[in-house]
C-alpha cells in the first residue's frame, strides 16, 4: 500500500513538474557573419497555464553561454541589459523580437548557417526545463 501511495505521489509530482510548459511560435536565429562573436534568438513565448512561468537561465551546447537581454533607448543610445529572470504571465505571452527583448547567444562553438537547427534549453524557476529547437534563418 505504501509503495502504491509513493508511486502515485511520484507520478503526481512529476505530472505537476511537467505542467510548467510554454508554447512558442516564430522560433528563429538570424544567420550572422561567420566571424560574429554573438547571435540573437527571437521567439514568441506563450503561457497557456494558470501559473506564471519564470525563466531563470538558458543554455545550449552550441554556444558558450546564452543570456536574455532587454533593449531600450536611453540617453540617445540603444542600451542592452542582461536580465536574471524573465516571466511569462499566466494566460499571457511575451515576445523576443528584433529591437526588443532577445536572446543573446554568445560565442557559437561552430559556424552556424541558415538551415541549421539548434537545441536551446530553458531552465524555469520551478527547477523544470524545456528544450526549444531554433532554426537558423537567412
Amino acid at each position: 500500500m505504501r509503495t502504491l501511495t509513493t508511486t502515485l505521489l511520484i507520478l503526481l509530482i512529476s505530472f505537476s513538474v511537467n505542467s510548467a510548459e510554454l508554447n512558442t511560435s516564430n522560433v528563429r536565429i538570424p544567420e550572422a557573419p561567420p566571424v560574429a562573436p554573438v547571435m540573437a534568438g527571437y521567439m514568441t513565448l506563450i503561457n497557456d497555464s494558470n501559473k506564471d512561468i519564470t525563466i531563470t537561465s538558458i543554455n545550449s551546447s552550441l554556444y558558450k553561454s546564452v543570456e536574455i537581454h532587454s533593449m531600450s533607448m536611453k540617453d540617445g543610445m540603444m542600451h542592452m541589459e542582461q536580465l536574471d529572470h524573465f516571466t511569462i504571465p499566466a494566460k499571457g505571452q511575451r515576445l523576443l523580437e528584433p529591437g526588443g527583448y532577445h536572446l543573446m547567444l554568445i560565442k557559437p562553438q561552430k559556424t552556424l548557417r541558415a538551415g541549421d537547427t539548434i537545441d536551446v534549453i530553458f531552465h524555469y524557476q520551478d527547477k523544470t526545463t524545456q528544450t526549444f529547437n531554433f532554426k537558423v534563418e537567412k
Binding site: P34, V35, V38, H69, M71, K74, G76, M77, H79
Partner: protein
C-alpha cells in the same frame, strides 16, 4: 497736431515692420520649402562640415574627412559583438542597397560604412569579414579611441561601454542607432533615425540628391 503726426508715424512704422515681418517669413518658407518634409530622414538645410580626423578602413588604409569627398557616404556606428541592433541595421541597408540609386546625377557613387566604436575587440580583419558578409561593397572603419571620439562627437553620435573591466572581452556597448549621410562635399547632409525601413531609405535617397543639387 504734432502729437497726431507722431501717432501717424508710429502707425506707419508698425505697418512697415509688420509688412517686412510677413515678407521675411514668406521668404523663409520659400527657402525651407525645398527641404522634403515628408521624409523619414532629417535633411539638413545647412549641411555641417566636418573637422579633421584619422580613422582606418578595413584594408588598413587611412580614412580622413577628405575620403568622403566626391561620394555619398552612409554611416552606421556599432560593434561586432552587437547581437541585435547592428546586424539588423546592416541587413536593412543591404535590402535598401538593392533598390537605391547607385549614383547621383553628377555621378557621385554611394558607399556604406560600418564604423566600429569598439576597436579593442574589432580588428580591421574581423571588421572586414563581418561587414562584407552583409554586402561585399560595405566597408568597415575604426580607429584609435581619441580619433573615434573626434569623429563621433562632431556628428552627434554617442557611445559608451557598460562594465568594461581591464583585460575583459565580455562587455556591452551602448550606441546611437542612426544612419548618417555625408554629401560629396564631405558634409553631414542627413540623419536617419530608427526604426529603419529599407524601402524608405532607398526611396528617399533620390529626394536627398535633388535637394542637394538645389543647394
Amino acid at each position: 497736431m504734432k502729437k497726431l503726426r507722431q501717432i501717424t508715424l508710429l502707425i506707419l512704422v508698425a505697418v512697415i515692420s509688420l509688412g517686412i515681418g510677413i515678407w521675411l517669413s514668406k521668404l523663409k518658407q520659400q527657402q525651407t520649402s525645398a527641404i522634403p518634409d515628408d521624409l523619414n530622414a532629417t535633411v539638413l538645410d545647412k549641411p555641417r562640415p566636418l573637422s579633421p580626423f584619422t580613422l582606418e578602413d578595413h584594408d588598413n588604409k587611412h580614412f580622413t574627412r577628405d575620403s568622403f569627398k566626391g561620394q555619398w557616404s552612409y554611416l552606421f556606428f556599432g560593434y561586432t559583438n552587437c547581437p541585435d541592433v547592428c546586424p539588423l541595421a546592416l541587413k536593412v541597408m543591404q535590402t535598401a542597397w538593392n533598390s537605391m540609386p547607385k549614383t547621383d546625377s553628377a555621378g557621385h557613387p554611394v558607399k556604406m560604412y560600418f564604423v566600429s566604436v569598439d576597436p579593442d575587440r574589432d580588428s580591421n580583419k574581423l571588421l572586414k569579414d563581418y561587414t562584407t558578409y552583409f554586402n561585399p561593397e560595405f566597408i568597415g572603419l575604426t580607429g584609435e579611441a581619441d580619433q573615434l571620439d573626434i569623429f563621433t562627437n562632431q556628428l552627434g553620435i554617442l557611445y559608451g561601454f557598460e562594465d568594461k573591466a581591464k583585460d575583459s572581452d565580455n562587455y556591452l556597448v551602448n550606441h546611437s542607432a542612426q544612419f548618417l549621410l555625408i554629401n560629396p562635399k564631405g558634409q553631414l547632409q542627413a540623419v536617419i533615425s530608427p526604426p529603419h525601413e529599407a524601402e524608405k531609405i532607398a526611396s528617399e535617397l533620390g529626394e536627398i540628391f535633388k535637394f542637394y543639387e538645389q543647394l
